[in-house]
Assembly symmetry: C2
Homo-oligomer: 399 residues x 2
C-alpha cells in the first residue's frame, strides 16, 4: 500500500548520518564498553524535586484533559520568564505549550508554510531540521556557513538564500557547533527577515547554557516580535528531556491559530507534566545553573586538553553541551575519523557530516559523561588524531 510522498521522503533519502551512533549502540548491546559522546542528553536524571511535584499534581487529580493551549499557570510562568530574560512584553496569550521542542518546531513550520513553500535554515543544523520542514510539506533550503566565520551566516548569504522564502530557522546557542551568535549576526538575521518579509523561527532551547558572550533573543530586536516564533523547552535547561514539554512564544494572533493546530495534532500536553514544568520554572535560576554547571566545567577541561597540539582545533566553545572539533588537519572526513575512533578506542562521537556539508571534516562531541571519563576520552581522541595526522603525512607522497 502506497504511503504519502511527504512521509516517505521525510528523511531526504540516503543515510541519516547516525551510522556511528547505531554501531556504538550495537557494540554496547554486544557487551563492548563504549564511551558515548553522541546524544545531547545530560548525564543526570530529572531532579526528584521536579518529579515529586509531578506526582503530587497527578495524585492530586490533575489527570484529565488539560487545556489545549497549556495550563494558564504554565503559560504565565513561561511568559514571565521570557519577559524577564528579553525585556519584550510577553503574556500567556503569546504562549502555546507543546509536547517538546521538536513538536514546537513542527508546529511553527506548519503554521507558516503551505505545501511547496520554501523554508530556510542554517547549515550545519540540528539533525531533524530538514525533515521537520519536509514533514510540514515545505521545501528546505540551507544557508551554508563556513568554519572561517565560526559557522555564523554572512549578511550576503542570509539575504540571497531567503529571497522568496516564507521562514528562516535559526538556533543559538547552536547545536551542533556550540557557537553563540553575535549581536552582529542576529542583526543580519533580522535585516534579512524584514527585507524578505519572512517569519523567523528561533530555536533557543540552549539559552541557559552560555559560556562566552551573551545570548540575545532575536525577538527582542526592533520590528521582530511581530514576525518571530521562539521555540523553547524544559529539556536542556532543567534536564527534562524525557518529559517532552516545550513551547512556542509568538504574536497572540499566531498563537491562537497554533492552539487550533494543537487541537488537531496533539490535543494538549499532560497536565501533571505541565505542573512539574511550572514547578521547575518557579524554582529559581540556581536550578538551571546547576544543570548547566557540568558542561561549563567540561568546556574548561576541553580547552585544557587541547593545549600543546595543533591537529585538533575547537570551534569557539561558547554555549550548549557540545564541542565542535576541526579535524581537517588529519586529512580525514568526520565520518572516516568517527568510524576509526569507534573501532580503535571505543569512543563514539558524531561526524560533522551528520549535520550538513558545512561541518565536513569536523566532529561533534557531546560533553555528556562524567568529568574523568570525558577527559580520558578526549585525550585519547586527540592522541588518535595525532596518529592519523602522521598516517596522512606518510600517505601524502604516494597520493
Amino acid at each position: 500500500m502506497k504511503l504519502s510522498h511527504r512521509i516517505t521522503q521525510i528523511t531526504g533519502g540516503g543515510s541519516d548520518g547516525w551510522d556511528v551512533f547505531y554501531k556504538a549502540r550495537r557494540m554496547i548491546a554486544d557487551g563492548i564498553p563504549v564511551t558515548e559522546l553522541t546524544i545531547g542528553e545530560h548525564d543526570i536524571p530529572t531532579s526528584p524535586d521536579i518529579l515529586n511535584a509531578m506526582h503530587a499534581a497527578a495524585i492530586g487529580g490533575h489527570t484529565g484533559y488539560a487545556e489545549v493551549p497549556g495550563t494558564h499557570a504554565l503559560r504565565k510562568s513561561v511568559a514571565a520568564r521570557i519577559a524577564n530574560r528579553t525585556g519584550v512584553p510577553t503574556t500567556a496569550e503569546n504562549i502555546v505549550i507543546t509536547p517538546g521542542g521538536q513538536a514546537a518546531l513542527f508546529a511553527a513550520h506548519t503554521a507558516i508554510c503551505d505545501p511547496g513553500d520554501t523554508a530556510a535554515y542554517i547549515d550545519p543544523f540540528y539533525t531533524t531540521y530538514p525533515g521537520t520542514i519536509r514533514g510540514a510539506g515545505a521545501v528546505p533550503k540551507p544557508i551554508v556557513t563556513s568554519p572561517q566565520t565560526a559557522f555564523q551566516p554572512t549578511a550576503e548569504a542570509l539575504m540571497a538564500v531567503t529571497k522568496g522564502a516564507r521562514s528562516l530557522l535559526v538556533n543559538t546557542p547552536n547545536n551542533p557547533t556550540g557557537v553563540v551568535y553575535s549581536a552582529k549576526t542576529l542583526q543580519r538575521i533580522a535585516d534579512a527577515c524584514i527585507a524578505n518579509d519572512l517569519w523567523l523561527i528561533s530555536d533557543e532551547v540552549y539559552d541557559t547554557q552560555v559560556w562566552e558572550g551573551t545570548h540575545v533573543s532575536p525577538r527582542a530586536l526592533p520590528g521582530m516580535a511581530e514576525r518571530t516564533m521562539v521555540v523553547g523547552s524544559m529539556s536542556k535547561s532543567h534536564a527534562m528531556t524525557g518529559s517532552r514539554v516545550g513551547w512556542i512564544c509568538g504574536p497572540a494572533e499566531a498563537v491562537a491559530h497554533l492552539v487550533n493546530l494543537s487541537t488537531h495534532t496533539t490535543y494538549g500536553v499532560a497536565g501533571f507534566v505541565q505542573d512539574a514544568a511550572d514547578f521547575a520554572l518557579n524554582s529559581g535560576t540556581a536550578v538551571e545553573e546547576a544543570v548547566a554547571a557540568p558542561f561549563r566545567r567540561r568546556r574548561a577541561l576541553t580547552m585544557k586538553a587541547l593545549e600543546g597540539q595543533n591537529v585538533v582545533r575547537a570551534v569557539p566553545v561558547q554555549g550548549a553541551m557540545y564541542v565542535m572539533l576541526d579535524l581537517r588537519a588529519t586529512g580525514m572526513s568526520g565520518e572516516e575519523f568517527a568510524n576509526a575512533l569507534l573501532e580503535a578506542e571505543h569512543i563514539a562521537v558524531m561526524p560533522g557530516e551528520s549535520f550538513g556539508q558545512a561541518a565536513a571534516g569536523h566532529l561533534r562531541v557531546a560533553m555528556t559523561v562524567a568529568d574523568d571519563q570525558y577527559v580520558d576520552a578526549l585525550s585519547r581522541l586527540i592522541a588518535f588524531a595525532g596518529t592519523c595526522a602522521g598516517h596522512t603525512t606518510r600517505r601524502s607522497p604516494r597520493a
Copy 2:
C-alpha cells in the same frame, strides 16, 4: 504577518460547534452551578496504582529521551493486547506509540495523504476529524449517514463517496452516536476500501466500552490488515485522558515510516508515561471493566428514564460513554434545544449539529457525572423536551 492557508482554515471557518460548552464554562466561572454532560471524560481520576507506577519509573531514572517508536515493552504489550482481542498476528513492529489518540489520527492521515488528496470520514463525526484531515493538508469528504440506519453508513454511500479518495476514517464504538457498527457495516467498509484501493483508519479508542453487540476490528477482516491503521489510546479504557498516550497499529513498513514522522513531529513520548501505560495494560481486564462500569450502569438508567414518553428517543445506546438523543419531535434544532436547556435548567449537553449535518435535531449526552446527578439531569431534560414539544404544537397552527 501571514500564516499558512492550512492553519488558518483548519477549523473550516465559522463556529466550531462548541458554543454551548463555552457558555456553560462561563456560567460556572461566574458561580452558576451547571451540570456538564458535554465532554467525553470520566468522572474518576486515573487510578493511584497507575500513577504510582509512573512515579516509580520516573524516580527510578526513566527521565531521559525514550526510544522514538515507543519503549519496546509498551509496543509489545499493545501488540499482545491487539493480537489477543482480534486474532490478527501483531508484533511490536506493528506499533508506534504516540502522545495520545489525536496525535495518532493526525499521523495516520499525514502518512497516507499528500496535500490535496481526498480523505473520507463518516458524518456524524468526532469534532476534530475534518480539521485533522485539513491539518494534514488533505481534503475532508463526509459520508453523510442517517438516523434511519442508526447512523451506520450504507454500502452505496461508502462505495460512491470513497471513489478517488486515499483514506477512509471510521470510528466504532462511535462518538458521538454511541452506536457499535454491525458486522455487515464493517464488511461494507472493507469492501469499499478494497474496491477503491483505500487505506482504512480505524479509530477504536472506545473498544472496551461495548454494551450491546460485539466490537469487531475491521483490521481482522480478510485483506484488511495490509491497508488498515488502527488508532488506539489509554484515554478511555483506563481513564488516562490527561496522560496523552496512544498508538497506531499498522503494517510494519508503514510503522517504520510513522516512526520517521514521529522523529520530526514529537520525538517520542515520555518514558515514565509509557511505563505507566504498560503497567496499566498488564493489570488485567478487570481494571478496564471497572472503568467502563459507570457508563454501563448509566446506560441502563438512561433506558429507564426514557420510558413512558415519546418526545425524546434514544439512538441505540450500544457503546462508548455517550447517548445520542433524537429531539426532532420538539421541532427544535439540537442547537436551539441545547441553548434553551442550558438557560432554563443549567444542564449543558452537546447539540448534534456540532458533529455534522447527519445529527441535526439530536443531542449528544455524555454519561459522565455521578448516577444520581445524571438521572436528575436526564429527567429534567426529558421534562423540558415535553414542554418544548407542547410549545411547538401550540405554535403549529400559527405557522
